[in-house]
């Protein structure tokens, strides 16, 4: 138990403000649970929201690798998400134009392979150039992917979309909503652990250097093109996995789901959460979705009805207002990155961290990097 609490305090809670943020999140969780227990919130509704938040968290983790780690500007989050969703839908739905009805595993695998391939295709011409080229090319990609799906209807079913996508793990003794929520939690855990390992390492360090000063990284002999490509591909693959998951959550997909608004929300989530921080990406996604879904019900509140205004469409305004507030009071986002990017196992015994390393945790003491209260 003490191991768990020390992990929580060292990994999740670094200072007073962070403690308040997590306390708030904890309180909201308790309220939700109470809401379910008292029957105010339907458990099915809540589990569906968890799955949705989880999917956005995956997308944010993906963008965080690209923008947060490496400084790559990708405006085609929705496109890679759509690639993943369509790979899953096309391969697994029996009534898709391909009509294969394969096991969902193949959908996920295809999502990974195809998104990686397309990321490499976009990366080859743009990543050698200045950063804005990727931004422009990715803007184009988002539209191209949508146009292809819309117009190549012999392959993609076009605007009529694909239905009959199978549910994941339907043999589990859980409700379908609980199963999808469990799956997304599992996916986030796997992605999170993967990213944690690769980020706090010489690899992550080179990316951080590139983000801050690419010429310096080159002058020190780093093949920055290769590093940027790796970050771009990893981020895109994570986005596609989120898309494949969505196909099995919603059981139906059509091209109108690939709206640029998704890309916008994910950027907001990453910046809000704290650019470069995995914890931040997850929390940022939760906050953005909470606002988006929460404002759906604004018009149902009696007081607002009496005002006679339609508030739900003003959602973006709320998101914008929130950003301004957070950037005003917490410039680097809710949970900005705190870790020194040093391989944790190499920290102990090497004297790194100086005197402040005395309380180092067995895994190398993430909380003990003396200089990290920046």
């Amino acid at each position: 138990m003490s191991a768990v609490s020390s992990w929580v305090s060292e990994t999740l809670v670094r200072d007073a403000t962070e403690r308040r943020i997590f306390a708030t999140l904890g309180l909201i969780t308790v309220l939700l649970v109470v809401g379910v227990l008292t029957g105010v919130i339907g458990p099915r509704f809540l589990l569906f929201q968890i799955a949705l938040v989880g999917m956005y968290a995956l997308l944010s983790l993906g963008l965080n690798v690209q923008w947060g780690y490496a400084g790559l500007i990708n405006f085609s989050v929705a496109a890679f998400w759509g690639i993943g969703a369509y790979c899953a839908a096309l391969l697994t739905a029996p009534n898709s134009p391909l009509g294969l009805g394969l096991h969902p595993v193949f959908g996920f695998l295809a999502a990974i392979v195809v998104s990686a391939f397309i990321a490499v295709l976009i990366g080859i011409p743009t990543l050698r150039l200045r950063e804005d080229y990727l931004a422009i090319a990715s803007l184009g990609l988002a539209e191209v992917i949508r146009a292809i799906i819309l117009n190549e209807d012999q392959w993609t079913a076009g605007s009529s979309g694909i239905s009959g996508i199978p549910e994941l793990l339907s043999w589990l003794p859980l409700t379908d909503a609980a199963t999808t929520a469990a799956v997304v939690v599992f996916l986030i855990a796997v992605v999170y652990l993967f990213l944690r390992r690769v980020h706090r390492s010489p690899w992550g360090r080179v990316l951080r250097t590139i983000r801050s000063d690419e010429d310096l990284a080159k002058a020190l002999g780093k093949n920055t093109y290769q590093f940027k490509m790796q970050a771009f591909v990893i981020g895109s693959v994570i986005m596609a996995i989120a898309g494949a998951f969505y196909a099995h959550l919603n059981l139906y997909i059509d091209p109108s789901d690939l709206v640029p608004l998704t890309t916008f929300y994910i950027w907001i989530a990453v910046i809000l959460g704290g650019t470069g921080s995995n914890r931040g990406a997850v929390v940022g996604a939760a906050v953005v979705i909470a606002i988006r879904e929460g404002t759906r019900f604004l018009n149902d509140i009696g007081f607002i009805q009496t005002l006679g205004v339609d508030l739900a469409p003003l959602r973006l305004l709320f998101v914008g207002g929130l950003i301004i507030l957070i950037m005003r009071f917490r410039q680097d986002g809710l949970l900005p990155p705190k870790d020194e990017l040093i391989w944790p196992a190499a920290r102990d015994g090497s004297g790194a961290g100086g005197a402040s390393a005395s309380g180092a945790a067995p895994d190398g003491g993430t909380s003990s990097n003396g200089g990290d209260d920046r």
Binding site: S201, S212, D213, G221, G349, G353
Partner: protein, 268 residues
Amino acid sequence: MNDDAYEGARLDKSDVVLKTTGLEKAFGGLVATDSVSIEVQRGTITGMIGPNGAGKSTLFNLISGFYENDAGHVTVNGEDVTDLEPHERARKGLVRTFQTPRRLEGMSVREAMLVGPGPQKGESIFSLFFSGSDVTEEERANIEQTRELLERFEIGHLIDQPSTDLSGGQMKLVELARAFTTNPDILLLDEPVAGVNPTLANDIKRFIRELNEEGQTFLIIEHDMPFIMDLADPIIVLDQGKVLMEGSPDEVRSDDRVIEAYLGGAGP
């Protein structure tokens, strides 16, 4: 100054680490580097001076591959590197620092230092998962080297500082230390003491000399005349993109053309 005054550099050296032949670079109509051929002998501290805009930084950018040259060749340890990317040249042992200090946002001094050694095993994602203990071992050694080097440069106490909090002079020291961790055959320093207070500048001079005594070769651009005259031999003088002359500090100091170049640069 007429063209005959440009004597060029000495090109008869033995054990040459870095050699350029006929390097050219023009920006639009402005010829910033005009047929520059120089040689840097192993084990020396070779200085490079010249008035503002003489083309010193441009030459560094050509040598290190950050600018593409219009003509000419760059050779490192006898190998032609003209077609190589900057990072490939760095791996061949040619490492440079920049005139304006590069601050690494969000990195501690320790982290900023650890980017230097390379290529590191832990820079491969595959190794991170499949040979974690090798990564650990190498990272430990690098952390230890960082600590020792910073202590040697008398800035060991800064190791935990955010690198954005350092003074300009401290940053120059960290950059020198970091460049050294790449284990280069030749270090190109662009104005290592510009804007650095005299005490720290003296420290930097001492450290450069120490590293040189251990065999490190340097090519150093510097405007601070007492500094470079005291430290470097030979000194190459650049003016208007061309090599004016090369010689010992005394020869350079007493050369009329050098004086004229500086006065001409300062005049109307």
